[in-house]
Symmetry: C2
Subunit: 469 residues, 2 copies
């Protein structure tokens, strides 16, 4: 257990949620512009303390300054989006009682109201953007929910600094005590205790499938069920058709491997499998992939734990599959090196061995050649749910594409045309969600403006005088 | 087990869901107007066979012809609403990628798509409107989901006739086999088996808290979690303030008791508790309530089982509480008579004995006098979630009202001003949902146009040419 940030006691967790519930009844009655002011103030405090945040996060993670700077900009931008959500009050979505479905019921008015205290469990791979004041927290605050955040134990000091800045903004904006609180804990029992709290009204989690599944079971045993939103593991399959391969051989290989190696393969949308149809350019493509892998910079992984887990996964895969390419030989002297590895297999192996698809969090991917269309279709049918799916093809391949797209649609939350994930900018059309095991509820997104939808519910008022709220 | 409608075998249930999954991939690609045509055709078949449906339902239930006729009209009206939903395609809700939140990402388009096969488990109290082609089924079909319905064993012939009419409409409109199927079963294992099917993508259940809780546990143990929407028990508290009682003494008592006795108290929104603040008119109100109870027509309950359960609940309450009023002495010779009973208790008893609040499905209600505002507030704080909550007050009681309304808001899905439930007409501002235990997810409604929201999820397409879907 950390000396600086000891595990929060059961009693304190319980007390925090009671306070969050009490604060909720005050905070939800604040005007949208008041909540916007609070969110904007948080953004300002983060910008003002940018260099401290980056420096501490750089000490605690291996992400490096440029990536952290980028992430901080994104985080502040998202906070501003949710300040706008609060200010514009669109999220209330009042139903017009006199629309074409309901001409006669003028006395009905339906509006969204906030759910209550939200528990946010931050991720290891985004210490700023999916953390203390990431989308989950900003979205929840924007609609009037109070928030309790579980700090990721891999970067507790970064979390604490961000939380201190939120507390500062609370003071400046006179936000009720209990509206926001950070909880520390290295032991999993802290998180497990948090999600079992009777006063929690919704959980937002980003992390591994294993962690998400454990918490999901605990939440399902609550006396009062509440929504549990987890964003977890995802294969993110990419399919490339022969014409496209022929046309863009080098670029395709290059972009594929870059997407695999991006931030040491520690992105939720890393392409974990690349499918091609048997084509004359197969061996050239393999060659380009090999070269692209060799060119990749070897980045440090987020932590020793994650590195060791990645290597464990790789050992398992190495026993089952031949390596098409790796940059392991480039023996840089960096800590926790994230070697890029591409394994090769055929469609039957892919279909029959789902354990090979278990997300190895790191820069690895499976390269699968399908003998014919039927094999490709069988592969797609065997997919579990993913956050993204991508198809690369030319106009001439339209007919085949028309068969593949509906199949892929039913497996993913985002479909990319001639592109590789991530490539997502958080906005109103953003959808960062997908069928299980990508998330626990494919109807919601954890990134982008619509993320607030998880934290509101409709309330219908009937027969109220027009003059009263 | 019924000879006419034997329990569906495990194998057949599994096969039905496999077919529903296969049909889904075809049906979801149908145009909105084609699905609208199908729904309209179902409506027409029901209207054409109205007298047969009413006659069979009248034999199987004790609801009586007038109520069944009304319910049939409502059912057809709802089917037409969802035909409109399908035709207008509004449910797709395409996100405008160039709105004020997202100016630069023109290549993102987000649209709703259907989830997959939906399992609908019909209720006992609405053999037509919450049954084979009630809101759940119509909503699911409107957005392109396929549907498997579990018939309620209390009225299997009514269910079968409705299902036959759907099959007829399917034939006429050339809808793929497997798009809709009825499953019979008296044994609970049939339903339990249904909700565990790997190909089910969502469950919509209306029934008791006990039944919903059992199914909820089974769903939570699925390998692939799916949304489970249950609409269950609800207290539906009503609060009346002193001025209002003084003003409308007789009407208030009359309307309260009528709402309690409506359809033998077998409505989801029956007011199960009536709270008053100690007032000079207390004894007059009690008198009016007593008289109103005596005037109530004694209706037959839905079935022998339900009658016996109601009487069991009443025996339990009789041991704990004094009866303020009952019409038990009116010994009509009807089958399964639903005697109206009002029990009297004080705020402390109400707060300390949650078991008294367990929904007794039938025309009973608790009458609670609170000594002061604090006691009333404590009662409200102790409420579990409900579908509705009502407040009766005058303009002069605005200050107290402003304290009560926010408290009630956090406990209910619909708030009525000087009214009694049900009083709900299905439409776009309708919300028939509420916090647990009223439903499993307060963010959704099981009645009204928005009911389709349970069955869709967003899909984001990125980088697709503008010309292609």
């Amino acid at each position: 257990m950390s000396i600086l940030f000891p595990d929060t006691s059961d009693q304190e967790i319980n007390q925090t949620l009671i306070l969050a519930e009490q604060a909720f009844h005050k905070f939800r009655k604040f005007s949208g512009s008041k909540r916007a002011e609070f969110l904007d103030q948080i953004g300002k405090e983060i910008e003002k303390n940018q260099s401290d945040i980056i420096s501490i996060a750089n000490n605690e993670t291996s992400l490096g300054v440029p990536r952290l700077e980028m992430e901080l900009i994104r985080t502040v931008a998202e906070i501003k989006v949710f300040a706008k959500v609060a200010r514009m009050n669109e999220w209330v979505q009042p139903s017009c009682p006199k629309d074409h479905f309901q001409e006669s019921i003028a006395s009905f008015v339906k509006k969204n109201i906030p759910l209550g205290p939200v528990v946010v469990i931050g991720a290891c791979n985004f210490p700023l953007a999916i953390s203390v004041v990431g989308t989950d927290t900003a979205a929840a605050l924007s609609v009037g929910c109070t928030v309790v955040v579980k700090a990721h134990p891999a970067h507790p000091r970064t979390c604490q600094l961000l939380a201190d800045l939120v507390q500062l903004a609370m003071k400046k904006c006179e936000i009720p005590l209990g509206t926001f609180k950070l909880i520390h804990g290295e032991n999993h029992t802290v998180t497990q205790n948090l999600v079992a709290q009777p006063n929690a009204s919704c959980i937002a989690f980003t992390g591994s499938l294993r962690g998400g599944s454990v918490l999901s079971k605990i939440v399902s045993q609550r006396e009062k069920p509440i929504p549990f939103h987890a964003e977890m593991g995802s294969l993110n399959p990419v399919i490339a058709l022969p014409n496209k391969i022929e046309q863009d051989l080098a670029t395709l290989a290059q972009n594929y491997i870059q997407a695999v190696n991006l931030f040491a393969g520690q992105m939720c949308t890393k392409p974990g499998a690349f499918f091609i149809l048997k084509s004359p350019d197969h061996s050239s493509l393999r060659q380009f992939i090999k070269e692209a892998v060799k060119q990749q910079k070897i980045l440090p992984m987020l932590s020793r734990d994650i590195y060791e887990n990645y290597e464990k996964g790789i050992s398992f895969l190495k026993k089952a599959l031949p390596l098409l390419s790796t940059n392991e030989s480039n023996q840089d002297r960096i800590k926790n090196p994230a070697y890029c590895r591409i394994f090769e297999l055929n469609a039957v192996q892919f279909i029959q061995n789902p354990e090979l698809r278990t997300e190895a969090f790191g820069p690895m991917s499976l390269f699968i050649e399908c003998k014919n269309e039927e094999e490709l279709f069988n592969c797609i049918e065997s997919f579990e749910g993913s956050l993204t799916g991508s198809i690369h093809c030319t106009k001439e391949e339209e007919a085949l594409c028309q068969k593949i797209i509906p199949m892929l649609e039913s497996k993913v939350g985002r479909l990319l045309w001639n592109g590789f994930p991530p490539g997502v900018t958080p906005g109103s059309a953003t959808h960062h969600g997908g069928p299980w095991p990508a998330t626990t509820d494919s109807r919601y997104t954890s990134i982008g403006k619509e993320a607030y939808q998880r934290f509101v519910r409709p309330l219908c008022k009937q027969g109220f005088p027009e003059t009263r709220d």
